[in-house]
């Protein structure tokens, strides 16, 4: 009997572990599915359009195919950027039903902290001697800490006193907070050696990885991905896994979900709602900070106004994926990233230079937002799988 009980207990244990593993890793599968899916769909559209256009100019088809893999990689990197920022929006929205307008600035602060850490390391002469992985860990941890605490502080100062006010009130306060953070960071940056446009020093990561080489005429176009981009993608995936584990398999996660579902009841169950909300801001802010560090490292420069537009697009991504849904935010980010990369790279090619693709990418992003809100307000992943954070 005892042995049997033990066995069944073991079974139960194993089942539970399996369950946990599934909830943690499932979203990754979903994400991969969407990456492959949107790449395939957009690629197909490009090929079809190029096919029709190539009747007049055969070069279009060649070029379109030749840059396709590179565009997909660009789109994926961009997508993971939006995705990591979108996680912060979606967490806060899930709990408070409130758009934390200042989240883009939290992201920017992360970038600045990373640049500052890199600057200090360089001043101390450690940048080139330190192993690159140590550098990345230090920068990300610092970025996450500062951004997370800052997000918590903004909530405490600007949002908590307004929690019971009409909806518009905290939203306006959040817009104000976003402006304040931009200029405070600017004030600090311009009075420090970093400057308004701060250079993000990095150790030498080496040359980009050459994946393939596609012949175009007499030349070959390389398909490459830079080591920084690989780091970005790997780190983003790790963050998604960690967040999933935290939300779905820990007591804290359970508390967060409870608060999201019903604040009053959760408080009756002995959950300290204020604390949970603070923690949600901390986690969301930390994720945004990490994204800021990774992004700054990837592009090499940070400035105090760089967070606003990515923040806006990340919100679009969160809505696109179904706001309040963690996997949805990632998926929305990826889809949006792909879309922008495709528009930016192909629009001018297909219109013979009449429309400059890079300029219309923003319009594409906002049009998608409007379309999604009209036709599928619950987002791509839909209500059925929506699990409020």
């Amino acid at each position: 009997m005892v042995a049997e009980a033990n066995v069944s207990k073991q079974n139960l244990q194993r089942q539970r572990t399996l369950q946990t593993l599934r909830t943690v890793f499932m979203p990754l599968g979903q994400l991969l599915l969407f990456i492959v899916g949107s790449a395939a769909v957009l690629g197909l559209i490009v090929v079809v359009v190029a096919f029709f256009l190539s009747r007049s100019d055969p070069k279009i088809m060649q070029t379109a195919i030749a840059i396709l893999p590179q565009v997909m990689i660009d789109g994926m990197v961009r997508g993971f950027l939006f995705a990591t920022i979108a996680l912060g929006y979606t967490m806060v929205y899930g709990v408070l039903e409130f758009i934390n307008f200042a989240h883009g600035e939290i992201f920017m602060v992360g970038g600045f902290v990373g640049a500052g850490v890199a600057y200090l390391l360089m001043q101390w002469g450690l940048l080139s001697t330190l192993p690159w992985i140590v550098f990345i860990v230090i920068a990300i941890v610092m970025g996450m800490t500062v951004s997370g605490l800052l997000a918590m502080a903004t909530e405490r100062v600007a949002y908590r006193p307004l929690r019971n006010s009409p909806r518009l009130v905290p939203l306006i306060s959040a817009i104000g907070m976003s402006l304040v953070l931009q200029d405070v960071v600017r004030l600090i940056a311009t009075s420090s050696p970093l400057g308004f446009n701060a250079r993000f020093e990095t150790p030498n990561f080496g040359k980009p990885f050459q994946i393939a080489s596609i012949p175009l005429g007499e030349r070959a176009i390389p398909v490459q991905i830079s080591p920084k981009a690989v780091i970005f993608i790997v780190a983003a995936m790790l963050m998604l896994l960690a967040l999933n584990y935290l939300v779905n398999a820990t007591r804290l996660g359970k508390a967060i979900r409870a608060v999201a579902q019903d604040r009053a009841t959760a408080s009756l169950m002995g959950i300290n709602v204020n604390q949970i909300i603070s923690l949600t801001f901390l986690i969301g802010g930390a994720l945004g900070g990490a994204a800021g560090v990774l992004f700054g490292m990837n592009i090499g420069t940070v400035n105090p106004y760089m967070g606003f537009i990515p923040g806006l697009k990340a919100f679009t991504a969160a809505v696109l994926g179904g706001i309040g849904n963690i996997t949805g935010a990632m998926v929305g980010g990826i889809v949006l990233g792909f879309l922008e990369a495709f528009v930016a790279s192909y629009l001018s090619l297909f219109t013979g230079g009449a429309f400059s693709g890079a300029s219309y990418a923003d319009i594409a992003a906002f049009s998608i937002l409007i379309l999604i809100l009209i036709f599928r307000p619950e987002g791509l992943l839909g209500e059925s799988t929506t699990q409020k954070v």
């Binding site: 409130f98 758009i99 100062v157 600007a158 006193p161 307004l162 929690r163 019971n164 006010s165 009409p166 909806r167 518009l168 009130v169 905290p170 939203l171 306006i172 306060s173 817009i175 104000g176 907070m177 976003s178 402006l179 304040v180 953070l181 931009q182 200029d183 405070v184 600017r186 004030l187 311009t190 009075s191 604040r263 009053a264 408080s267 709602v273 806006l312 919100f315 679009t316 809505v319 219109t351 009449a354 429309f355 400059s356 300029s359 219309y360 923003d362 319009i363 992003a365 906002f366 049009s367 937002l369 409007i370 809100l373 009209i374 307000p377």
Partner: protein, 439 residues
């Protein structure tokens, strides 16, 4: 506010003084003296200086004092007409700078009142309001300059006399754009709406920058210059009366009165709307959408109406702005502009027309006069060796100021400087209860 008893009991020296000075014989004497002294100081010191700046601000505050006082309506109107209709324009002929500031304040007052219809009355947060302003400005700029020939080959610009018609067209096109944006998005929840309108504002700006190809519609980043001005039909009459002014001064006066007129019309229309069936429907929607539907209010139609009304004022003002400014380019219509209009509305008092005008005047003065003046003083202090951080310059930190203003106003006085009665009650009826606790 004149009619309603004040919210708080009148205690304290300031309130007693206030009460004494705003009514009765003391009030008449005080206001008349105030007008007389500030006017005399302005006219005798026409050169731009710190002193004139201060007098100018005091002079504008006079209007507020007149409005807040509890005196005979005829006296109040008469005093306002003297101040705004005679003293300020005459001062403008002596120093064109101040009347330009007053004109800009008027433009922003109209914009703020328009946005107030959307945000204050109907409770729909619009972060892309400047887009409608841009539409109006570009409309007149394109049609009144040879730019039209770039867009439609062979077309020639319309004559200057069309200006008045174009104000009406700007009004309608602005409204049309409001409906166009409103139709798809008004079913959205409040905070989604904020983001979508913000996106729309950006889209319009991006389009203004990019629509020089494939067809040159907006002339892209180069902007449009030499925008036509309306004919000076009143110039001969003024000359006959013995006023010898050059064209430049005439245009300044013209735009000043034009803007003043539009401000008055807007006040009238918005004021009427507020107390009409429509206005009450908007309030109902703002307070509780579900309850409003239950009351049989056509939600989407009312929201659309708010959007269209707000947008049409911006469209009409855009036409006047382009003509006054002679040159426009896309950066004039960026997000910061939308946000500064919003902060005017919030500062002055969401929903309250005089409050919103006060907010617009204050923010404009802050931008054009007060901040640069402080910056100048700081620079002088820095040159004198005082320890002021090199990078700290108040004109440079408008965002910080607007941001702080928004947060602090939301936390401490969400109803604004001159609150609307209903909103004040609504926002402060919880004051006695602890704010702590859950929803």
């Amino acid at each position: 506010m004149a009619k309603n008893p004040p919210h708080t009991p009148e205690t304290g020296l300031w309130n007693q003084l206030n009460a004494w000075m705003t009514k009765g014989p003391a009030g008449y004497t005080f206001l008349s003296l105030y007008t007389l002294i500030t006017s005399a100081l302005l006219i005798t010191n026409p050169r731009t200086s710190l002193f004139t700046d201060i007098v100018f601000v005091l002079f504008l505050l006079l209007i507020l004092a007149i409005y807040r006082s509890r005196l005979d309506m005829r006296f109040k109107v008469g005093l306002a007409v003297v101040a705004l209709g005679f003293v300020l324009p005459y001062f403008g002929t002596l120093n064109p700078y101040y009347i330009d500031v007053a004109t800009q304040a008027g433009i922003f007052a109209t914009l703020a009142m328009g946005l107030n219809v959307v945000v204050g009355f109907a409770g729909l947060l619009d972060l892309g309001y400047v887009a409608f302003y841009a539409v109006g400005a570009y409309l007149w700029s394109i049609f009144s300059t040879p730019q039209i020939g770039n867009m439609i080959s062979g077309a020639t610009p319309v004559g200057e006399g069309w200006f008045y018609l174009f104000i009406i067209i700007g009004l309608m096109v602005g409204g049309l754009f409001g409906v166009l944006l409103g139709l798809p998005v008004l079913r959205l929840r409040g905070d989604y709406l904020a983001i979508v309108t913000l996106g729309f504002g950006e889209v319009i700006r991006v389009l203004a920058v990019n629509l020089d190809k494939p067809i040159n519609i907006t002339n892209g980043a180069q902007g449009i210059k030499d925008i036509e001005r309306p004919p000076l039909f009143f110039a001969p009459a003024l000359k006959a009366l013995g006023f010898n002014l050059d064209n430049n001064q005439l245009y300044q006066l013209f735009f000043y009165f034009m803007v003043l007129l539009v401000v008055l019309i807007t006040m009238l229309v918005v004021g009427r709307l507020k107390n009409s069936r429509i206005g009450r429907a908007w309030t109902a929607i703002r307070e509780d959408e579900t309850a409003a539907i239950a009351q049989g209010i056509p939600l989407v139609r009312m929201k659309l109406m708010a959007f269209a009304v707000g947008a049409s004022f911006a469209g009409a003002m855009g036409v006047i702005f382009a003509s006054k400014q002679l040159f426009i380019n896309p950066p004039t219509f960026d997000l910061l502009r939308s946000i500064s209009i919003l902060s005017m509305v919030i500062l002055g008092g969401l929903g309250n027309i005089p409050g919103v005008i006060l907010g617009a005047v204050l923010v404009t003065l802050l931008n054009l006069q007060i901040l640069p003046r402080i910056a100048e003083i700081l620079r002088t202090a820095k040159e004198a060796g005082l320890p002021i951080p090199q990078s700290f310059d108040p004109t440079q930190y408008q965002r910080l100021l607007f941001g702080l203003l928004m947060i602090l106003m939301m936390i401490f006085r969400p109803e604004g400087i001159l609150p609307e009665d209903r909103r004040r009650q609504e926002l402060h009826d919880h004051d006695d209860e602890p704010v702590e606790g859950q929803a």
